[in-house]
Structure formats: structure tokens, C-alpha cells
Symmetry: D2
Subunit: 134 residues, 4 copies
């Protein structure tokens, strides 16, 4: 089991009615997506055609930041607030959608955009599935 | 002028039709609120009654993270995406509201909760005013 | 291969003489450790004995923040600066050591501290091995 | 008094022998510098000569992340650990120095680099003064 999965298992109080599988999938996707977007922004910077990739860099940076925050919020269970969780998941779903759209537009030219676009799409779906299960 | 204000002034391209005053107020509120929530979480930890403040700690940590992300996203203007900006501002408004409600419940007992609750309420309003101006 | 591994593979320029295996291990450990420390801080908050765990919460929060920053810095390769990389890795090694020491002190009582302490120790070693390979 | 100053004043326990003025100056500099570096990275992205500014973008992103972490760590006082504080301040001093050097190299061409370079230099000094006072 992943470390994130073990941390979820060892939480000492009740997790309420949350779907553990969807929660864990979303936590893991958020941290992976924060990493891939950080790396994709940097890879875009190193391309000779960086001037055509500035929107991609920016969207990657936004998505990395929102995924980071979402992964942290979802890793906390004490004093759960459904309104906050939902609002943050919706922001993250949007950040991932925007970034996936942008990365996919460059996927045929740049492998890092292809890999990162797929990661963003996966994280977008994980957010949506968790929202729908709340 | 604050450093954040100078950075906004020296952005080399057009900022579009954004309300600069509301944008700057929101950027500054987000960074100040990230700091005050980080400090309030820690101050709660040091109280003898920490066991009664665990929800306040958690809400402060969430609010600090979301304000941090929002302050960063608002500090970027390249490749502006209105849907993303709006979704992140709405998440931040909610995080600030949740945290202000929680801090205010302890404001008569703990000065740090009073100061932080006021900061969260101010940041909540700054987010709302910026959303309404978009 | 992990997404982080794929992002490293698809970086379009030369990575210099870096040890790719140690770099990837350290990137992955930093993101996993940021997650586990965020979760352990929250799990400590939910313990009935939270008043005895406040130093553990604080150390977890510091370690989560420094691991997050280190994971991001290591995910960037453009305009590499050895002095900066080394200083940030040394701060992260120290943050992980401090947190591992603290978590281990509670490991026999709290499973989340045991899991998180092991993760911190692993991240501490990954930082040291990467520093030594620079 | 700033909100950060009020939060320091309302911390309920003893702050130990720390120099409050230097601590507050460093906390405020870290948050301001995190903002200015985030904005400078974005301003560089929007320059027509972005291809010559990629190292500046990268250094700004690293400095923003490390300043953010340092500002958070310094905002916590519970369970103070001198070794950790020192290591993180040294990493931050180095990040600010690297970024100030880079921004200053472009200061005559780009006003945002001039403003941000001055901010980084100020934060670098605030870190050093706090280290020397520990």
C-alpha cells in the first residue's frame, strides 16, 4: 500500500461516510499532478519555442499550486467541512481541466505536455468522482 | 506603494479590463491571510485548551493553503483564464468564510483568533469584490 | 514508470551530470513526505492526547512545507544552480531529521507517527544521497 | 501595526529570547518576496525576450517557494527547534541571493526585475540578520 494509503488507514478517528477509495485516488492524483505540472512548466521553459508556450507555463504553475492545496486539504479529516471541501475540489477540477486543455494542444509536439496533459485529465476526473460521491 | 503594487505597475503587457485596485487589494489580502492563518493555527496549538481548538487549527491550515494559492494565481497575468480565476476565487472566498466563522467563535477567548478572524473576513470580502468586478 | 519518472525522461534538454536515479528517488520522497506529514499533523490533532503532540504537529507542518518546496525545486532543471540546490537539500534533510526524531518518539503509541517517521527517515536519506552525488 | 505584527503580539506563550523586531521583519520580507518573485516570473514570461529570461523565471519560482516555506516556519513558535530554523533560513538566504543576482542582471532592461531584485536583496539581509541574532 502507498504511504498515503497507510496514512489514511492509520487515521485514529472515524472518517465519516467518505468513499475511501475515491478519496485516496484523489489525494494521490493531486500530489502527482502538482509534481508533473511543476516539471512541465520547467520543460516548456527549456524549449527553443518557449515564446509559444508561455500560456502553458502559466497554466501549469496555477494547476501545480491548486493541486498542492487540494492534496493537503484532502489529507486532513479533523473538523471536516463539506462546503469547503466541495469548493476546493471544484477549483481543482477547473485548474486541471484548463491545464489539460492547454497541454493537450502541445502534446503532439512535446512529450512532456502529453504526459502532463494525461495526468491533469486523470486528476480532473478524480476530483469530479470525489465531488459526486460526497 | 507596496512591493505588490509596484510589481503590478511594472507588468509589461496590458492587464485587460481588470479593476487594478480590487486586484491589488485581493493579492495583498491573500498573502496577509495566509500568514495570519499559519500563525493562528500555531497559536491555537500553544493554548492549554488546544483540545477544544482542533477544528480551528485545521480550518486555519486549509485557509492558509488556499489563500497562498489564490495570491499566487492572482499575481500572474500571462494567458489569463477567467474560468480558472473565478473558480479559485470562489474556493478562497469559501475557505475564508469557513475560517472566519470558526475564529470568531473563539475571538472573545483568544486575541489571535480575533485578529485572524478579522483578517479572514477582510480577505473573504476582497475575493467577493474581485469576483463581482470580473 | 511513475509520472515523475516520465517527466524526467521527457525533459527536452541535457540534465547535466546528475544521478537520475537519486534525483528521481528524492523528488518522489519529497512529495510523499509532504503528504504524510500533512496527514500526520492532522491525525495528531484528532488524538485525545493532542496536548502532548503539539510539537509533533508543528514539526510535521514545517517538514511538509520544506519537502514541498524541495520537491518543486528538484523538479526544475532549467538554469540549474548548484549552491541553491545544495542549500535547499540541506534544509530538507534537517527538516526530515527533526520530524523523524519527533515522530519516532510517538511511534509506539500512534501508528500514523510510525508510518510518517519512516517516511521522513527515507526522505532524509534520499536528500543526503543526492547531496553526496552532486 | 501590521497583521503579522499583531499575530506575533497575541501569541499566548513566551517567544523565548528571539529578537522580535528581526523576526517580524523577516516574516514580512518572506511573504512579500514570495509575492514579488511569483509576479516577476510571470512578468518575464510576458516579455518578448522571454527566451533570454528563462533562468530568471526558474530562479524566481524557486525563491518564491523557499520564501513561502520560510515565512510559514517563522510564523510558528510552538516546539521551536533551532537547528531547523537555522537550516531553513540559510536555504532562504541562498535562494534570495541567487534570485537577486539574476534579477539585478536584468534590472536595467526590466523594471519588474529591478523591483524584485531589490526585494530579494532585502529578504536575503533579513534572513542573515535573523540568523546572526539566534
Amino acid at each position: 500500500m502507498s504511504v498515503a494509503g497507510q496514512m489514511l488507514e492509520t487515521y485514529p478517528k472515524d472518517l465519516g461516510g467518505v468513499d475511501r477509495e475515491k478519496l485516496l485516488a484523489c489525494i494521490e492524483a493531486c500530489f502527482e499532478c502538482a509534481q508533473s505540472c511543476t516539471a512541465c512548466a520547467d520543460a516548456c521553459l527549456s524549449e527553443d519555442t518557449v515564446a509559444e508556450l508561455t500560456k502553458c507555463v502559466r497554466t501549469n504553475l496555477d494547476c501545480a499550486d491548486q493541486c498542492d492545496t487540494t492534496g493537503r486539504v484532502l489529507s486532513r479529516h479533523t473538523g471536516y467541512d463539506a462546503n469547503l471541501t466541495r469548493a476546493i475540489l471544484e477549483a481543482c477540477e477547473q485548474a486541471c481541466k484548463t491545464c489539460a486543455d492547454e497541454c493537450e494542444a502541445h502534446a503532439s509536439m512535446h512529450e512532456h505536455c502529453r504526459v502532463c496533459g494525461e495526468m491533469c485529465r486523470r486528476c480532473q476526473r478524480a476530483c469530479r468522482e470525489l465531488i459526486d460521491s460526497l
